[in-house]
């Protein structure tokens, strides 16, 4: 189901959390709301869910006006940042909640909960309380609970924010598979550009309550609309008014006319890739990203003089 926010504004006191934002999310897509903290992405998600009422603007869910509709009536599944488990209920009862309040037959609830427990790999843990689960398990329980009433839209607020790096990576892959199977229109909020690039079909970059750019991951990375997007999505060097990605910094041992002289300040080896910190002869600092082989071929060492050429440098008026 397609979701649209049209000119949405939400203020908290004098603070404008969301400032005249319009987005369109296609049915069945996986969309990321990406931005630093305080950029308004969570507030926008809560407006879409009906948990906040916008001060101005409208929300449409599958073409129907939903701005004043209570969250109960939106058919939206929401996964909270800290999962909001019902602490006094077992995992089973948590997942069954959305069905039991709809007074579905017991046998149907039993079958659906068992199916969801298997889907989120928690079979056998239905009798536990949320406090007895690990962070990743609690997250999957929250997801199963949100999916139980078969929502048309799934909204996730920083779904992996509170998990450690490995669990996070596992859950990301798992969510991607889940989305491929279920085709529920999904919007997730994240401040992690890598997460957004990996998961989303479409990324909405937000900053200070406004939308900076909406684009598919590749376009966002290759053709950022402005300096903010360029610097927020992916690593970047800033040299005067131009911006260049570290992997677009080429190092040579000989000058060739279009190069700058620079000194190697530090070499950091991060497995496959190597980061070389440089100081140019005009005092500008930058870093280059090389593969291990490229770096080995140059036989770089600290203090060496190299010649730097940048590709695909961008400047924003």
């Amino acid at each position: 189901m397609a979701i649209e926010a049209r000119n949405v504004t939400k203020r908290f006191g004098n603070f404008v959390a969301v400032d005249d934002v319009s987005i369109f999310v296609e049915s069945g897509s996986l969309t990321a709301l990406l931005g630093p903290s305080g950029s308004g992405k969570s507030t926008l998600l809560r407006v879409i869910a009906g948990l906040e009422v916008p001060d101005a603007g409208d929300v449409y869910i599958s073409g129907k006006e939903a701005t004043a509709l209570a969250p109960q009536k939106r058919g939206v599944g929401f996964v909270f940042q800290h999962y909001a488990p019902f602490t006094h209920m077992t995992v089973w009862d948590n997942i069954a909640f959305g069905l039991s309040i709809r007074r579905r037959p017991k046998s149907e609830i039993r079958a659906r909960v068992a199916e969801l427990l298997e889907l989120v790999q928690l079979t056998g843990l239905g009798g536990r309380y949320p406090a007895q689960l690990s962070g990743g398990q609690r997250q999957r329980m929250a997801l199963a609970r949100a999916l139980a009433p078969e929502p048309e839209v799934l909204l996730l607020d920083e779904p992996f924010g509170a998990l450690d790096a490995r669990v996070r990576k596992e859950l990301r892959e798992w969510l991607l598979r889940l989305h491929d199977e279920m085709h529920v229109t999904t919007i997730f909020v994240t401040h992690d550009q890598e997460e957004a690039l990996e998961l989303a079909d479409s990324i909405v970059v937000m900053n200070k309550g406004r939308v900076e750019q909406i684009a598919p991951p590749r376009q966002l990375y290759d053709e950022p609309a402005n300096a903010f997007v360029m610097s927020f999505v992916g690593p970047v060097n800033r040299i005067g008014d131009t911006w260049v990605r570290p992997h677009d910094v080429e190092l040579r041992l000989e000058p060739n006319g279009s190069t700058h002289e620079a000194q190697v300040e530090r070499i950091v080896r991060l497995g496959f890739e190597t980061r070389v910190d440089l100081v140019r002869d005009d005092g500008e600092r930058m870093h280059a990203q090389l593969t291990r082989d490229e770096c080995d071929e140059l036989e770089l060492a600290r203090g060496d003089i190299v010649y730097v050429r940048t590709r695909r440098a961008k400047s924003f008026a």
Partner: protein, 272 residues
């Protein structure tokens, strides 16, 4: 901390407790049963004493549910809804804690007396408030007002609104969310508040004694019966009624201690 310091603290606190609490209460029990069970039974079987006990229990049974319902609603209003003026209500709810019950009694007296603001109209319509059950209920309700609110407010704050929001996104109506999410989360706080309200209602003396008239066998509560018996040199009667009050208080306290450990269960463990 050294062993002797720990012993010192223990001896001091136990000694203080003995002096302030155990000795006086123990003395009452001892005096009541000094001459065996007989005089004690005779004293509490006395018509006025039985009536006073019944009246006290009656007041408690009416006031506690009222104040519990009000306390829950008031706590929800203070914590969950941004209603203008709730800050003021939050402050006023504590007033009965700070205000002397005598002042409460006096203000009720001024309101409902024959020439009071409400009294003249009510009496004109044949409704008697003062020196009757209504005034005693009002006085008791006033002094025992804050306990449920004070217990429930911090727990509501602590559990936050996320669980309620989650229930809403799952399709739960406001009432269902309250019944299935909020109420189970605050039930021990409510139980604790009910116990405190009950204890306060049973023991109320100051406010009630001003508005009840204290007519033996009619508008005399158990605490007033103790005072009246004492003043009439019916010492055994005073002791026996005191023992009844003490037993009720101890039963209430027992209920409270039985509730206390359960506040910690899995409900208490909310580490995210």
């Amino acid at each position: 901390m050294t062993v002797s310091a720990r012993h010192g603290i223990r001896i001091f606190s136990l000694g203080y407790l003995t002096l302030i609490l155990v000795a006086p209460v123990g003395l009452i029990f001892w005096r009541s049963f000094e001459h065996g069970w007989h005089p004690f039974w005779a004293a509490i079987a006395n018509h006025d004493a039985v009536h006073a006990l019944k009246l006290t229990l009656e007041i408690t049974v009416i006031v506690v549910p009222l104040n519990t319902a009000f306390g829950i609603l008031c706590a929800l209003a203070i914590v969950r809804h941004r209603i203008p003026g709730m800050g003021l209500v939050n402050a006023i709810v504590d007033l009965p804690m700070a205000l002397s019950p005598v002042v409460v009694g006096l203000s009720l007296y001024l309101l409902y007396a024959r020439d009071g603001w409400f009294g003249s109209w009510l009496l004109g319509h044949g409704i008697q408030i003062l020196f009757a059950l209504p005034a005693m209920l009002l006085a008791t309700a006033f002094v025992s007002l804050p306990f449920v609110v004070r217990e429930v407010v911090p727990v509501l704050r602590e559990i936050g609104i996320e669980q309620e929001e989650a229930a809403a996104t799952l399709g739960s109506s406001a009432f269902t969310t309250f019944r299935r999410i909020t109420l189970p989360a605050i039930r021990w706080a409510i139980a604790y508040g009910v116990v405190l309200t009950t204890a306060r209602s049973l023991g109320e003396f100051g406010a009630v004694s001003i508005v009840s008239g204290g007519i033996a066998g009619r508008t005399q509560t158990l605490t007033q019966y103790v005072q009246a018996s004492y003043e009439n040199f019916s010492i055994t009667g005073a002791y026996a009624a005191s023992v009844e009050l003490a037993v009720l208080a101890i039963a209430t306290l027992l209920a409270m201690t039985m509730l206390r450990p359960r506040r910690g269960g899995h409900d208490g463990n909310r580490s995210a």
